[in-house]
């Protein structure tokens, strides 16, 4: 049996490290998934990775003879790609679930409360989370996982861990959020009550002023029919086909002129 060459050994080492990271992600996802469901496509990726790894071993141990010197390294690379894909799919799930969790925790709180209690939410947490999810949405849309390498995976995992910390912070600050929101609602209710009372007082004062300082009538007829000023402003009605002219003094021709005009309501005089 020949030993693995240096390149293949390095790739196997990378694969082992990646697998360790991805396994941690899958375990975390299984623990935190709200529906407690498994994603069989992730398991399928690991199955395919194992297949490529076994092809590499088979070639190395001459179970499956290959003349191509790069065959072993190529198979290890393919296994790496499948493990990477499993990790990437799991990261996508974790990121989206973090978003769901944070969204549910903050539902019902006003933007002002969130900004006061968690000042970094609108500055860092939300933009980071949106950016993370957009990155994964873009990659998914392109059906491309980019360049599968350990550095990318470490960067994604680091982002997930930061989001997880934010999530923990939000849970820790939830009592403060509730307290602030309650105080804010009490203050709003108080302001509303004070406004209503002031408005009511104004109406009462205006009514009393009108009652005591308003115009007084001396004649009994005026008092009965109302002030003269009001009579002049009797409601105007639109009269159709009013015959005018013949009723007017000095209209000797007696012709009628049909026109529409606004006249004071005669009943009010």
């Amino acid at each position: 049996m020949d030993r693995f060459d240096e390149i293949s050994l390095q790739r196997i080492k990378d694969l082992s490290e990646l697998y360790y990271l991805v396994k941690e992600l899958i375990l975390y996802w299984e623990e935190t998934n709200p529906e407690q469901k498994a994603d069989l496509q992730v398991i399928n990726e690991l199955r395919n990775a194992f297949d490529h790894l076994m092809r590499a071993f088979a070639a190395k141990f001459d179970v499956n003879k290959h003349e191509d010197s790069g065959y072993v390294a190529g198979q290890i690379d393919k296994a790496f790609g499948h493990v990477y894909r499993a990790g990437y799919d799991t990261l996508d799930w974790i990121g989206l679930n973090c978003k769901l969790y944070i969204s549910e925790e903050l539902t019902g709180f006003s933007n002002e409360t969130i900004n006061t209690v968690i000042p970094q939410y609108y500055r860092t947490i939300k933009p980071e989370l949106e950016e993370f999810n957009e990155t994964f949405a873009d990659l998914r849309q392109k059906k491309d996982i980019g360049n599968p390498n350990l550095e990318n995976m470490l960067a994604y995992i680091s982002a997930v861990k930061t989001i997880r910390e934010h999530q923990k912070n939000i849970i820790r600050l939830k009592p403060s959020l509730i307290e602030h929101e309650t105080k804010k609602r009490h203050a709003e209710k108080k302001t509303l009550t004070i406004g209503f009372v002031i408005g009511l007082v104004c109406v009462i004062v205006a009514f009393l002023l009108g009652f005591f300082l308003g115009p007084t009538s001396n004649s009994p007829q005026e008092a009965k029919s109302g002030p003269q000023v009001l009579q002049n402003y009797a409601p105007m009605t639109l009269q159709k086909e009013t015959k005018t002219g013949s009723n007017l003094p000095g209209d000797t021709l007696g012709h009628t002129e049909s026109k529409k005009q606004l006249t004071p309501n005669p009943t009010t005089k």
Binding site: M1, E30, E35, Q36, K37, A38, D39, L40, Q41, N44, R47, N48, D51, R55, A58, F61, D62, V63, N64, D92, L96, N97, K99, L100, I102, S103, L106, T107, F109, N111, I114, K126, L129, E130, N133, A137
Partner: protein
């Protein structure tokens, strides 16, 4: 130790990697092949997961060893996965 004679193979070549390779070759010749083509170079088929898969997994769970989640049918079908991912993507943060 496996008794290779049970499978109609010689019991002489059972030690070491080379020995196992010989067994495999002998097996291929005597027993024959189940699938066409070179097994090593063939990919596994695409896995399609639907409600029928869930039903089968639950029905045959007692006959084979598998994870508890799969035995209980706690996995996403392809359709459910698409719907759930879409729902999660549409969630807006406050």
């Amino acid at each position: 130790m496996t008794n290779h004679s049970l499978y109609g193979l010689s019991n002489e070549c059972k030690f070491g990697i080379r020995g196992i390779t010989l067994i495999l070759e002998e097996f291929k010749k005597k027993i024959g092949r189940l699938v066409e083509g070179e097994v090593w170079d063939r990919e596994y088929g695409e896995v399609s997961i639907d409600d029928a898969t869930r039903e089968s997994a639950q029905r045959y769970a007692s006959r084979c060893r598998c994870s508890v989640r799969i035995a209980k049918g706690l996995f996403y079908t392809d359709h459910e996965k698409d719907i759930e991912l879409k729902r999660l993507r549409e969630i807006r943060l406050p």
